[in-house]
């Protein structure tokens, strides 16, 4: 699975040829033809994984990746059960990973690391002279990033032989696209003024992608409001609830087929670690609170000692001397 490229412990491209990487055959072929793409793909996977962990770090399912030996890389799924279960978590993973790939490839284009793409050339001229600004700088070519993401991620899914459920494949394709749409939707315009003493005589603007954290928040929101679709899909995906079928499914909605497990208790078969031992917030009523995160099992308390430098003073001449300050904090972990 290509997502393994996002794990830091994985080898650098020079040490491993395309044939050794956890890619499917079409992806390996693309890698051989365009080896300069590999750093962007790896960075995209890393972005996706890191953002998933960040968005879910206080939840029962906290997006922990599976650990496995390198010999199992090609076949072991990075996220375990979540990747194939058809749940909301599956939807988020596909979307955030696709978005990560768009983001990193597009950033590589703007940085001039790629031969096939650069700044968005359609925005080199024009603008609005009457309003006093014009396109300039380097606008992110998100269209190339999206095109590449579709080519790298969607074609292998589309060409999968029929062993997997057709509705799961359709769901994954849709959620990949939702991730890409999130990047495109959150594009913003940055501007800079030029002129005598910083006056705004001339204003140059360019389009830029939002920070990946912002995209992560957007997709997390979509996850919270994701839509369950029927698993009896014929040619078009439709909502599971009959009375809601008239409401259209949008391109940037996240879709899932199966209800999630509760993620409370360890389930080795599914690779669910459960919430035992997780740190929780005793005073919070939200998902990170001990009540919800520990699923009613209660929590244990232990003391953690922090040592910090404090009361630093500059001594002439020339060094800084600090005292060591210790503080004790109660840490709560789920039973």
């Amino acid at each position: 699975n290509w997502m393994w490229l996002g794990i830091a412990s994985f080898g650098v491209p020079e040490k491993l040829g395309c044939a050794d990487l956890p890619l499917n055959s079409r992806q390996k072929e693309l890698c051989k033809r365009k080896p300069y793409l590999l750093p962007s793909i790896r960075e995209g996977a890393r972005l996706g994984i890191q953002e998933c962990r960040s968005q879910f770090r206080h939840e029962r399912w906290n997006c922990m990746v599976a650990t496995t030996t390198s010999t199992q890389l090609a076949t072991a799924p990075l996220f375990g059960y979540e990747l194939s279960s058809g749940t909301k978590e599956t939807a988020f993973i596909y979307a955030i990973m696709a978005a990560g790939l768009v983001h990193s490839v597009t950033r590589s284009c703007s940085a001039g690391n790629m031969t096939e793409c650069s700044c968005d050339t359609t925005l080199q001229n024009g603008g609005s002279p009457s309003e006093g600004w014009h396109w300039g700088g380097c606008s992110d070519d998100v269209q190339y990033g999206m095109w590449f993401s579709r080519k790298f991620l969607d074609l292998p899914i589309r060409n999968t032989t029929g062993k997997e459920s057709r509705v799961l494949l359709a769901m994954n394709l849709h959620n990949n696209e939702a991730g890409r749409q999130a990047v495109a939707k959150l594009m913003s315009v940055d501007c800079r003024c030029h002129g005598v003493s910083g006056s705004c005589a001339v204003k140059t603007c360019w389009k830029t992608m939002s920070s990946f954290e912002k995209i992560g928040h957007f997709l997390k929101d979509k996850y919270e409001n994701s839509i369950q679709i029927s698993d009896k899909t014929k040619r078009k995906m439709r909502r599971r609830e009959k009375d809601q079928r008239q409401t259209p499914i949008l391109k940037d909605d996240l879709l899932y087929v199966h209800k999630s497990p509760n993620y409370c208790v360890e389930n080795k078969k599914l690779g669910i670690p459960g919430t035992q031992g997780r740190e929780c917030n005793r005073t919070s009523g939200g998902a990170d609170g001990c009540n919800l995160l520990c699923c009613g099992r209660g929590y244990n308390t232990h003391v953690v000692r922090h040592v910090e430098r404090c009361e630093c003073k500059f001594i002439w001449c020339c060094y800084v001397r600090c005292r060591r300050c210790e503080s004790m904090t109660d840490v709560h972990t789920c039973k």
Binding site: L292, C294, C295, Y299, H302
Partner: protein, 342 residues
Amino acid sequence: QLLTDANSWWSLALNPVQRPEMFIIGAQPVCSQLPGLSPGQRKLCQLYQEHMSYIGEGAKTGIRECQHQFRQRRWNCSTVDNTSVFGRVMQIGSRETAFTYAVSAAGVVNAISRACREGELSTCGCSRAARPKDLPRDWLWGGCGDNVEYGYRFAKEFVDAREREKNFAKGSEEQGRALMNLQNNEAGRRAVYKMADVACKCHGVSGSCSLKTCWLQLAEFRKVGDRLKEKYDSAAAMRITRQGKLELANSRFNQPTPEDLVYVDPSPDYCLRNETTGSLGTQGRLCNKTSEGMDGCELMCCGRGYDRFKSVQVERCHCRFHWCCFVRCKKCTEVVDQYVCK
């Protein structure tokens, strides 16, 4: 499986205790007929006949509070019969058992303290607590406060009697369980004692505050229940040592204080009916489809799924005052979805 007495003084909550006047006629037979008392508690019954109805009230308060605090849990503090009250569930030294012992002891402190203040018991009266040092000088310390000191002492004597009158083999499971009960009883009593606070009233022309009188007053029992529920969530897992003391099962965690709950056994999951553990299971329980918490259908039903049915709710609505003088309302019916565990 650890065997403890199925009977408990909690059964006083479910069997009406006669008013004190009835004890005068035949003291011996009445005390001996009360179910669930240990020999020591029976002696205390004979010595303090007039207290018994308030102990029953205290147990009832404790059970009611337990059922409130656990109303959205798999185990919801159901009473199964009038003798053992909660059934075999209490034979497991679990966190749920810890909470039940604590809240029942708290209920007794609460009931006895109040009965003292109301002049119902001949051996105690108003609180004799000293005037708090931080009370402003021009406020009066008087009135009749709840006698928490007496309530605490009496509850300690009565509730702990069962555990104290027995001899256990040192380091045995039975001793561990007895020590657990004593600790949890004490935690319950201390919750009431510590939460009692100063209450004041103003006197003066047209209710002005020219004169203010203060006294010691029990906290609302719901607040005591909330505090003990918090203690339940953070209860400490213990085990009995060969020297006959309780120690933390995992020394990494904080040592429990006398106000903390402790337990010696892990909880059953309470998902399915189980005659051995006494679990009633969650089949047929109402659940909240949209909740992620323990009251949600996913957790309450233990992943078994749930059925949906429609229920009609009738409410008063469009109330209007009519001169003079009554309020007339209409009846509104609403069809509501309800979810029940499979």
